[in-house]
Assembly symmetry: none
Homo-oligomer: 392 residues x 2
DNA sequence: GGTATGTTGCCATGGCAACTGTGA
DNA sequence: TCACAGTTGCCATGGCAACATACC
C-alpha cells in the first residue's frame, strides 16, 4: 500500500545481500563500459522471448536454450550469473520466483515467455516438470491490473511446463510408430467347452471385436487422448449405466460376452493379447528411453500410468473375477513399466542438463579431446559410453 | 534516476535478490514467533565473541567453532544459513565482506571478534602463516568512526589468519598417501661430457639435492601449503634476488648448477624425475576421481593448477632454455591433468547431487529393485554401472 | 478446525568483472 | 604508467522456516 509501482517498471535494482553495509548515494554500479554482450545473443533473445505478465520460465530452461544457441552459433557461453545480468538488462522488470513442489523449487524469471513463433517451442524443455500450477487465480498482490485480466487468465497463467491440448500436437512427434500393435494371436476354443447359448461364431466375433477394440485404443494413444481410453473399456465390457451401440448389443449381447469372459480359453487369449498390445503401446509412447522427451509429455504419461489400474478396475466391475485378474495383471505391469521408463528418461535428461549447465564442461570436453578413450575408461572406472550418454 | 522513493529513507534493508517482486509495506518478515534458538548457544556466542570495529571473522571459522560447541554440548547443529540468522540476531550490525586472495575469497562477518579470554583462542594456530598480509588502513568508506580508531587499527584489521588453515586440516583427510613419491631414477653422466669445472661429485650432489628438493615439495603438498612451492623452486634454482642458504651455495654454487642444467643428461634426469614425481603428486591430491571432495579443496587444487606454470616460469627464469622447456613441459602436463581430474570429480558430484535431489529418484530406485541388471543394461544401451556411478 | 503443500523472506555460498590501491 | 591482486557489486543457487492457501 505504501508504494505502488507507478506506470513504470520500477526496479529495486539488484539489491543483493551485499547491499547492506554502506548506504551510499550511488550503490548501483555503472553498466560495464565495454559492451561485452554479444549482439547476436541479444538479438537471439529478442527473437525468441518477450515480456508477458503472469508467466514464468525456469532459469535453467532459459540458460539451457542459451547454451544450445552458443553451441550452434559457435559462441563461447557465459556463466549463469553473467547470463542473468544480460537477461535482466534486455528484459526490464523481470522478477524472481521459486516454483516447484516442496523441496524442489527452482528459480524462475517471472514476466517473460517464449515467443509463440520461436523454434524453441519445439524443443525439449529441460528436466523436472514444475507441473502446471497457476490454475487458480494469481495471488491478490500479483494481479493488480485494472480488471481486464480476467478474460484469458486461465491461459495466460500457465507456466512454461503446463501440458495443454495445445501441447499434444507437439508431443506426437515424440511417439514411435504403431506398427504391428494389434494382437496377432487368435482365440481358439474347443466347441465342447462352449457354454449354453454361445456358438463358435460368437467366439469368433469376440476375437474380432477385441482386436477392433485394441485398434480403437491404439488410435487414442496415437493421438494422446489417454483419458478417453476408459470410455472404450467401459463400452467394450458393457459397464452398467453406460450406453452401448444397439447394433453391437444385437451382434453380441452382454450376456454372451460375460459367458465368454468366464472361459479360461478366452482369458488366455485376452492375457496374451493384452501383454503384446501393451508392449506395443509402450514402444509407441516411449520409443527410446534415452531420447529426450518434454517434461509435459513424461508428466502426461506418468499421470496416465498412475491412473490406469483404478480406471480399468472401475470400467470392468461386472465381468468375471478371473478375467478381471487377467486384465488387471496386464495393465499393472504396463503401468509399472511406463513409470520406470519415464523415470529413466527423466534421469537421463537430468544428467544431461547438469552437464550442460556445468561451467566446467567446456574445459572438460577440450581436455577429453586430447585423451584417448581407453584412458577415460580407466579414469572413470566405467564404460566410456557414459560420457556419450550424458552429452548433448 | 528512474525511481525516486518518496520522502522516506527507504532502506534497502536486508534486500536480497528476493527483495524485488512485490513491494509491500511490510516486506520484512517478523521474527519467528517461537524462540527456537537454543539458549545455551546464545550464551555460548556471548561468552566467546563480541562486537568490535575493524575486525572480521571468516564465517566458516565461526561455523566450525559452533559445530564443535554442538558436539561438546550434545546439541544438534543448525545449518549455516540458520546459524547466520542467529549470529545476526545476537550481534547486531554485522556486515558482510569477502576476503582472501584473488579467486579464494571467503565470506566474513565484519564487526565481530573472538573475545580475548575465549578458549577458542587456543585453537589450532596456523602451521605456517604464509605471508601474513599486512594490515593496511581500512578503506575510507569503511572506517567512519569519530577518529579514535587510528590507534590500533593496524593490528585490529588483520583478519583471522587461521581461517584457511582450519579448512586445510579438514582437507588433508581427502589426500592420498605419499608413498614412493620421490623419484627413483638416478642421474648418470658420462664423465667425458662434464663441462669445465664440474666434477662427477657435483653431479651426484645435484642428484641428491634434487631428490631432497622433491621431498620438500612433497611435504608442502601433503600439508596443502601449495602456495609455498614457488619458494622452493626459487631457492633450488637460485632465482636472482632470492636469498640462498650460504651453506648450499658453498656445496653447489649457482654457476655449477647452471652448467649442469645445460647438460642433456641432466635434463633427461629431471624430465623423468618430474614426470614420475608429478604423477605421484597427482595421486596424492586426487587419489580417486570418483570420490567426493569438498569443493573448497577442488577449488584450491584448481587454483593451484592454474597458477603452476606461471609460478614455475617466474621461478626459473635464469636457467638454460632447454631445462626450462623440460620443467615447463612437465608442470604443464601436471597442471592440465589436475584440472581434468577436478573437473571430472566435480562432474560426478554434480550428477550425484541432481539425482539425490530428484523427486523421482525414490520411485526409480524402487522400480529398479524389481529389475535384473541385464534388463537395465538393455534398457540403457550402456553399462549398468552408470547407475552405480551416479548413485549416492 | 487441522493438515498438506506451494511460495517466499532471509540467510548462506560462489563466479565474474569492475573498481581500487600498490608497487615495479 | 601499467600490471597485479584484493575487494566488492550483481548476478546465480540452495536450505530452512514462516506464511498462505487449498483441501479435508
Amino acid at each position: 500500500m505504501v508504494q505502488q509501482m507507478g506506470g513504470h517498471a520500477y526496479l529495486i535494482h539488484g539489491a543483493t545481500m551485499d547491499g547492506e553495509g554502506y548506504p551510499l548515494a550511488q550503490t548501483t554500479r555503472a553498466a560495464p563500459a565495454t559492451v561485452s554482450f554479444d549482439n547476436r545473443t541479444v538479438q537471439w533473445l529478442l527473437d525468441n522471448y518477450d515480456v508477458a505478465e503472469g508467466v514464468s520460465l525456469p532459469r535453467s530452461t532459459l540458460y539451457a536454450h542459451y547454451m544450445q544457441h552458443c553451441r550452434q552459433a559457435r559462441l563461447d557461453p557465459m556463466n549463469p550469473a553473467s547470463f542473468g545480468k544480460l537477461i535482466r538488462s534486455v528484459f526490464l522488470g523481470l522478477r524472481t520466483r521459486r516454483l516447484g513442489t516442496r523441496g524442489n523449487s527452482k528459480y524462475h524469471y517471472y514476466g517473460i515467455r517464449i515467443k509463440a513463433d520461436s523454434p524453441l517451442n519445439q524443443m525439449v524443455p529441460d528436466d523436472t516438470p514444475v507441473a502446471m500450477r497457476q490454475a487458480t487465480q494469481p495471488h491478490r498482490r500479483i494481479a493488480k491490473s485494472s480488471g481486464a485480466d480476467g478474460g484469458d487468465a486461465g491461459n495466460a497463467m500457465k507456466t512454461e511446463a503446463a501440458a495443454t491440448s495445445q501441447d499434444t500436437e507437439q508431443h506426437k512427434q515424440y511417439l514411435g510408430s504403431p506398427e504391428e500393435a494389434i494382437p496377432q494371436n487368435d482365440l481358439t476354443i474347443d466347441s465342447k467347452n462352449l457354454p449354453q447359448g454361445v456358438t463358435m461364431s460368437d467366439a469368433n466375433l469376440f476375437d474380432t471385436m477385441y482386436k477392433e477394440h485394441c485398434e480403437a485404443v491404439l488410435d487414442l494413444v496415437q493421438n494422446l487422448h489417454l483419458n478417453l481410453i476408459e470410455n472404450l473399456w467401459q463400452t467394450f465390457w458393457r459397464k452398467t449405466n453406460v450406453s452401448v451401440d444397439p447394433e453391437v448389443e444385437a451382434k453380441l449381447p452382454k450376456e454372451k460376452l460375460l459367458k465368454l469372459a468366464a472361459l479360461s480359453e478366452v482369458q488366455e487369449f485376452v492375457k496374451e493379447a493384452d501383454y503384446s498390445f501393451y508392449q506395443a503401446l509402450l514402444e509407441l509412447l516411449v520409443p527410446d528411453v534415452l531420447r529426450p522427451i518434454p517434461s509435459t509429455l513424461t508428466q502426461t504419461i506418468r499421470n496416465f500410468a498412475k491412473g490406469l489400474e483404478t480406471s480399468l478396475r472401475s470400467s470392468i466391475g461386472g465381468i468375471p473375477e478371473a478375467m478381471i485378474s487377467v486384465k488387471i495383471g496386464a495393465v499393472s505391469a504396463f503401468s509399472q513399466t511406463l513409470r520406470r521408463y519415464t523415470s529413466l528418461n527423466h534421469l537421463a535428461q537430468a544428467a544431461r542438463s547438469v552437464l550442460q549447465n556445468s561451467s566446467q564442461i567446456t574445459q572438460m570436453l577440450s581436455d577429453l579431446n586430447r585423451v584417448d578413450f581407453a584412458n577415460v575408461q580407466v579414469l572413470l572406472g566405467v564404460s566410456p559410453y557414459i560420457l556419450l550418454f550424458m552429452m548433448p
